[in-house]
């Protein structure tokens, strides 16, 4: 599979501490990559650098063969990279429909079928509800819908299942598969292995800013270091 996004020896230091340390990340077209690791292992920082919100200390980020780490963050969505944050993404009292129409208003993205997008994200019946009045799980889905409204080729999801009920997490997992089936590559950070393992094509494990494992789910479950620092015995 061809590489969509690549980081080369990417590092990000804060006050001399390496939050991300020499990471070579590769995301292939049509792939679902899970990024896991203990809190503070550098997962979100890696996404922040990859999506342009932070500049790398050293190393570089490449998307579809073009270097992007020197671009302003608002230019990356137009190039095909979308992401969500850990917190809910709503525009105050704008309705669900109005919220996902915001990218269209900016004139930077292809037109999307808003009704279809809302149905895909399980929000078809709540289109007219104010975004900030949605239940938490649905707000997370709205964040995904908003990201998809920019017609990305790569979607970075930061702990999308955190705080979701089992039912909502299962719905989100199905949505991520559907998104991938539509040709969008997805990278997901999460701690919920029951949510991640069934959908991930590949798993990358981070610890103190470094990648300690990158491979298949089956290989990870046999990887002693990953078991020691992150998984424990219950998921294996």
């Amino acid at each position: 599979m061809s590489v969509l996004l690549e980081t080369r020896a990417l590092s990000k230091h804060f006050s001399g501490v390496a939050a991300v340390d020499e990471v070579d990340l590769r995301i292939a077209k049509g792939e679902i990559l899970a990024v896991v690791g203990p809190n503070g292992s550098g997962k979100t920082t890696l996404f922040n650098v990859t999506s342009g919100f932070l500049k790398p200390t050293t190393g570089s980020v490449w998307f579809e063969g073009r270097r992007i780490d020197e671009s302003a963050p608002h230019l990356l969505p137009g190039r095909g990279i979308a992401r969500t944050f850990q917190q809910a993404m709503t525009f105050g009292e704008l309705s669900v429909r109005e919220t996902v129409m915001v990218p269209g208003y900016t004139g930077r993205f292809p037109k999307v079928d808003v009704n279809r997008l809302l149905r895909l994200c399980g929000l078809g019946d709540q289109a007219e509800v104010a975004g900030n009045a949605l239940p938490y799980g649905r707000q997370r889905s709205l964040g995904v819908a908003l990201a998809l409204a920019t017609s990305p080729r790569l979607l970075l999801l930061d702990e999308p299942a955190a705080g979701l009920s089992e039912e909502d997490a299962a719905r989100l997992a199905a949505l991520i598969r559907d998104i991938r089936d539509e040709g969008v590559s997805v990278a997901v950070i999460d701690h919920n292995m029951h949510f991640l393992l069934p959908i991930a094509d590949r798993i990358m494990v981070m610890e103190t800013g470094r990648v300690i494992f990158d491979g298949t789910t089956a290989d990870m479950q046999a990887h002693q270091r990953v078991i020691d620092v992150y998984l424990g015995q219950d998921v294996v």
Partner: protein
């Protein structure tokens, strides 16, 4: 009470409310986007008044040239202040507040150096006074009211329907998510400073044609501008406009009932009351969409 006095004060109040609106909207927009409480906003208004004084003190048709010059000059000053100072305070808006306090003194002292502290007068574009009974309608004040109404009609439509307007609203509601929607947030903030400065300059130029101006004029209007912005809900443009109207009318009522000297006290009492009873303002702040 004489009905003519009430009508006269209501008319005067409306023209002053127009100026409060022009000042307050810039204050509330800058706060909505950046969280910066910019007390130097009143100095932009004062600079607008003095630019008019320099270019068109004689009034008449040349007022239009003076107004355009004031808007361009203050737009450039706002651009320079945002690029040179305020953008470095975005991560700590309280620093922006402190910078704005320093700027007040710097700008005032520069003006005093060149124009002294003495009050100056600028002749209006229109000097006709229409009389209906005991009512005296100043054509200049009608001009101020009508132009302000036109400005805010255009502004409201642009905010609601234009690409820049939607981008501005999204930025005010959530800067990070707006960035993900491809919105150049730093440019939106710069545009807001420039736009707010231009509106303040318009207010300053209008004010100069109905009241004497001095280098100290900014402070009293910026405090009222903040009162209006807070009463309306900081970050809420519609709220600021309603509050400016109410403040202008309250001041007019004060004057009509013979308590003109209490005008400022009543204004600030209203603001304090609002902060205690309804801290989020008449309409809610940034959250409620600008």
């Amino acid at each position: 009470m004489d009905i003519w006095v009430v009508l006269q004060q209501a008319f005067n109040g409306l023209s002053v409310a127009s100026i409060y609106m022009l000042v307050a909207v810039g204050i509330t927009l800058v706060f909505g986007l950046t969280g910066i409480v910019n007390f130097a906003h009143g100095e932009l208004m004062m600079l607008g008044a003095y630019a008019l004084l320099v270019v068109a003190p004689q009034g008449g048709p040349v007022f239009v040239v003076g107004l355009v010059a004031a808007l361009v000059f203050v737009g450039l000053v706002s651009f320079a202040l945002e690029r040179g100072l305020f953008r470095y305070t975005l991560k700590r808006p309280v620093n922006g507040f402190l910078v704005s306090l320093g700027l007040i003194l710097v700008i005032q002292n520069i003006l005093i150096e060149f124009w002294t502290i003495t009050q100056k007068n600028v002749a209006p574009l229109f000097s006709t006074i229409w009389r209906y009974g005991d009512l005296r309608i100043s054509s200049q004040r009608v001009f101020i009211i009508v132009v302000t109404a036109l400005i805010f009609t255009a502004f409201g439509l642009a905010l609601r329907y234009s690409k820049v307007g939607v981008a501005l609203r999204a930025t005010a509601l959530d800067r990070e998510t707006a960035t993900l929607m491809g919105i150049p947030v730093p440019r939106m903030i710069m545009l807001t400073f420039i736009g707010g400065g231009i509106l303040a300059a318009t207010g300053g130029a209008f004010l100069a044609t109905i009241y004497p101006i001095s280098p100290m004029m900014g402070s009293s209007y910026v405090v009222k501008g903040f009162a209006v912005a807070i009463v309306g809900g900081l970050g809420n443009v519609g709220g600021a406009m309603i509050a400016a109207f109410l403040l202008g009318m309250a001041e007019a009522a004060n004057a009509a009932f013979g308590f003109g000297e209490w005008t400022d006290a009543v204004s600030f009492a209203l603001m304090i009351l609002m902060l205690l009873l309804r801290p989020q303002g008449l309409l809610r702040g940034t959250e409620a969409a600008i």
